[in-house]
């Protein structure tokens, strides 16, 4: 018997790795002829934005791209002019879908909007019962960013009311501000790094469209486990 088997396995694995790595591996992509750009060890990440899908520089171009991506993903995206319009829109959807109970968290964007609905609310801020949230018709949350390049919504457990709010109710409504629209994925990670420099939230999630599956005959079905609908309201 070894004193600390756990520590031992760690050392065993690391030892095997070090031994294995004593032989150098050929440079990456060598067999494919000349690499398509010079191999610069450990500098690959610097060029990522140049390879990814193109994004325009103006707000108009970026919002148009976000809209195209969202439509392709079967998410609803609306650009609204004021907080009042946002509240009105939310009430309109609530009436159309017959919401009876709403799950949300406290945030400057969600507070007034949810209060205006006048419906029973489950707030996640101080903990909640999973069954209680499950019986809600909608989860309304804020977000960290909207990403034009992919049509994704970036949320974290700090910015969007925890882990379950954006996936447990059958409809997820995201409230965002225009300034939250960013160009591409590299800027999303840069944003995370500055915003959470003092400690990352335990969950960071890129939500791209409503929950989907193609597991049965590769036919697209929305709402596999998470929300069947994703609505993004931007003011």
């Amino acid at each position: 018997m070894v004193a600390n088997p756990k520590m031992n396995e760690r050392e065993n694995i690391l030892g095997r790795i070090r031994e294995a790595l004593s032989l150098p591996a050929p440079i990456p992509g060598a067999h494919h002829g000349e690499p398509s750009h010079p191999v610069s060890e450990c500098d690959a990440a610097a060029h990522i934005p140049e390879w990814l899908p193109r994004v325009g520089v103006t707000f108009e171009e970026q919002i148009a791209l976000f809209r195209t991506n969202a439509t392709e993903l079967k998410a609803d995206f609306l650009l609204l002019d004021s907080q009042e319009e946002l509240v009105a829109k939310l009430r309109e959807i609530a009436a159309a879908e017959g919401w009876k109970k709403v799950a949300t968290h406290s945030h400057e964007l969600t507070d007034d909007a949810c209060a205006a609905l006048g419906l029973p609310m489950v707030r996640t801020d101080n903990g909640y019962e999973a069954r209680d949230m499950e019986s809600c018709d909608v989860g309304i949350s804020a977000c960290d960013a909207l990403i034009a390049q992919t049509g994704s919504v970036l949320v974290t457990s700090q910015s969007a009311g925890g882990r379950a709010l954006s996936v447990l109710p059958p409809h997820h409504v995201v409230l965002a501000r225009r300034e939250q629209l960013i160009a591409d994925l590299p800027s999303a990670f840069a944003l995370l790094k500055t915003k959470y420099a003092s400690g990352y939230p335990s969950l960071i999630s890129f939500i791209t469209g409503p929950s989907r599956t193609g597991d049965i005959e590769r036919i697209l079905v929305l709402g596999a486990h998470g929300p069947k609908k994703l609505t993004i309201l931007c003011v």
Binding site: N12, R16, P28, W51, Y128, I204, R218, H225
Partner: protein, 464 residues
């Protein structure tokens, strides 16, 4: 022939002749290349993206020790428990230990291919726990007590009719031929499981060394729920899944989506950096990451084939492989199917037992061309053939080539052979494809080429 080899041969022979099965795979994969190419064309430079991805993974794998140490240290700093398992038995033991310590009973799982590799479900059931798969495809194959058919699309081989029958039998639901209704049946059943399960088990697509996070890619939201509601989250991850930096995901997330399923981005890409942190609304009390070696270090030691550890399991090489498209996923008898499975299985489970998979290839190179991280798949198959022979030479190969050399060096003998061949072929139809046909391996499915009535040398002589 080893048992695995003869089983493979039997499966492959039966399945290539099964036209219904082949039609099913064709329907499932027919749109793959079209949608993928559409998404590839949106990249400003897909080839450079592949090269960068290969370089980042190269760095990760070739400095694996330092990255793993950093990864574990960062996870532990935020309250995650990191476990190291050299083999399948240790990994199972660790996971069962965590569950027993919690006195837990019910487990919900999102897709974990490493779990298939270590036969986790069997072990958990034997230990008396209730395990439910939550990925729709995995749930279906679990109800059928089957292995996944494809590591990205586990239930690709089933029709809606078969799934409807399965649900009627196992869940008592009314038959339906709508994929939507079938999905909703699973949704209803599984919702309850997320809420009541004590433990959530997930895999990990990437492990970020710099920040100490795992990243999970999924479309359904089942992993999100699995990691949100149960009190304990256990993630099982192969040691090669490391990426050095958080921003590397900016490249890998869209590439995985594009190469894997022709998507711009997969539905949910989620990074988990610990259990519920102070001030957060929900999340598990405990987060465990189990790092699995299980012979990955053996593959690492083969410098020539080390790049096979770059694999991000997009499944792209399966989708374009002419062999996979004809025999399907179950024929391989291995956890990882298709070209990447044929490359890594001999390393993970023994070269001599699994070398036959290196021959399950037309060497067309479609896999290598498609791979987003530029793994030299088809050359690795050739190298494995070479290594297998070098390790265990075939005794009759040398005398055979000596005999042939003798024949080619003696003109009289050679032309006698040609004459005999010409006579022989007249009588060949009498025994063609029977037990005594010496060329049966060929004639079973093909015609034997005809020996020309006159050889070139004979023609040359008459000409003079």
């Amino acid at each position: 022939m080893t048992p695995a080899a003869s089983q493979f041969k039997k499966n492959a022979t039966a399945l290539t002749a099964d036209l219904r099965h082949r039609a099913l795979i064709r329907t499932a994969l027919k749109k793959y290349e079209v949608v993928r190419d559409d998404k590839v064309s949106r990249f400003q430079n897909w080839q450079s993206a592949r090269q960068s991805a290969a370089e980042i993974k190269w760095d990760a794998v070739n400095h694996l020790d330092t990255h793993l140490v950093e990864f574990a240290r960062n996870l532990e700093a935020r309250g995650t428990q990191v476990h190291w398992a050299s083999n399948a038995a240790q990994a199972r033991e660790i996971i069962i230990g965590i569950i027993q310590e919690r006195k837990a009973h019910s487990i919900i799982k999102s897709k974990v291919m490493t779990g298939e590799e270590i036969h986790l479900n069997d072990a958990l059931e034997k230990a008396g726990f209730e395990v439910v798969e939550s990925d729709l495809g995995e749930y279906i194959v679990q109800l059928r007590h089957e292995a996944p058919y494809h590591f990205v699309f586990p239930a690709m081989h089933l029709t809606r009719g078969e799934i409807s029958d399965l649900f009627s039998k196992e869940l008592g639901t009314a038959p339906t031929d709508s994929p939507e209704e079938l999905t909703m049946i699973a949704r209803r059943v599984l919702r309850d499981k997320y809420i009541t399960a004590d433990i959530g088990i997930s895999g990990a697509n990437f492990g970020i060394a710099e920040t100490g996070m795992i990243s999970i890619t999924e479309n359904e939201g089942n992993a999100r729920l699995t990691c949100a509601l149960p009190k304990v989250h256990i993630a099982l991850m192969g040691i090669e899944k490391i990426l050095p930096k958080l921003e590397d995901l900016a490249l890998f997330l869209p590439m995985l989506a594009t190469a894997g399923a022709g998507q711009v981005m997969t539905g949910y890409n989620t990074m988990y950096g610990g259990p519920r942190q102070p001030g957060e609304a929900d999340g598990p009390e405990a987060f465990h990451v189990v790092l699995l070696d299980n012979n990955r270090t053996q593959l690492l030691a083969d410098a020539e084939q080390r790049d096979a550890l770059h694999c991000i399991r997009c499944g792209g090489c399966l989708n374009v492989c002419p062999i996979y498209k004809n025999i399907g996923g179950h024929a391989y008898g291995a956890t990882y199917q298709g070209p990447i499975g044929a490359v890594i299985t001999p390393h993970l489970r023994g070269l001599q037992q699994w070398k036959h998979l290196s021959f399950a290839s037309s060497l067309c190179g479609a896999c290598t061309q498609t791979c987003p991280v530029k793994i030299d798949l088809h050359h690795h198959l050739l190298q494995s053939r070479r290594n297998a022979i070098a390790q265990k030479p075939v005794w009759w190969e040398k005398p055979l080539f000596q005999a042939l050399a003798f024949l080619f060096n003696h003109a009289g003998l050679f032309s006698l052979g040609m004459k005999l061949g010409r006579i022989g072929q007249v009588f060949h139809p009498l025994i063609k494809n029977t037990g005594i046909d010496p060329v049966r391996a060929w004639t079973r499915s093909r015609e034997l080429p005809k020996v020309a009535p006159q050889t070139f040398r004979e023609w040359w002589q008459t000409r003079k």
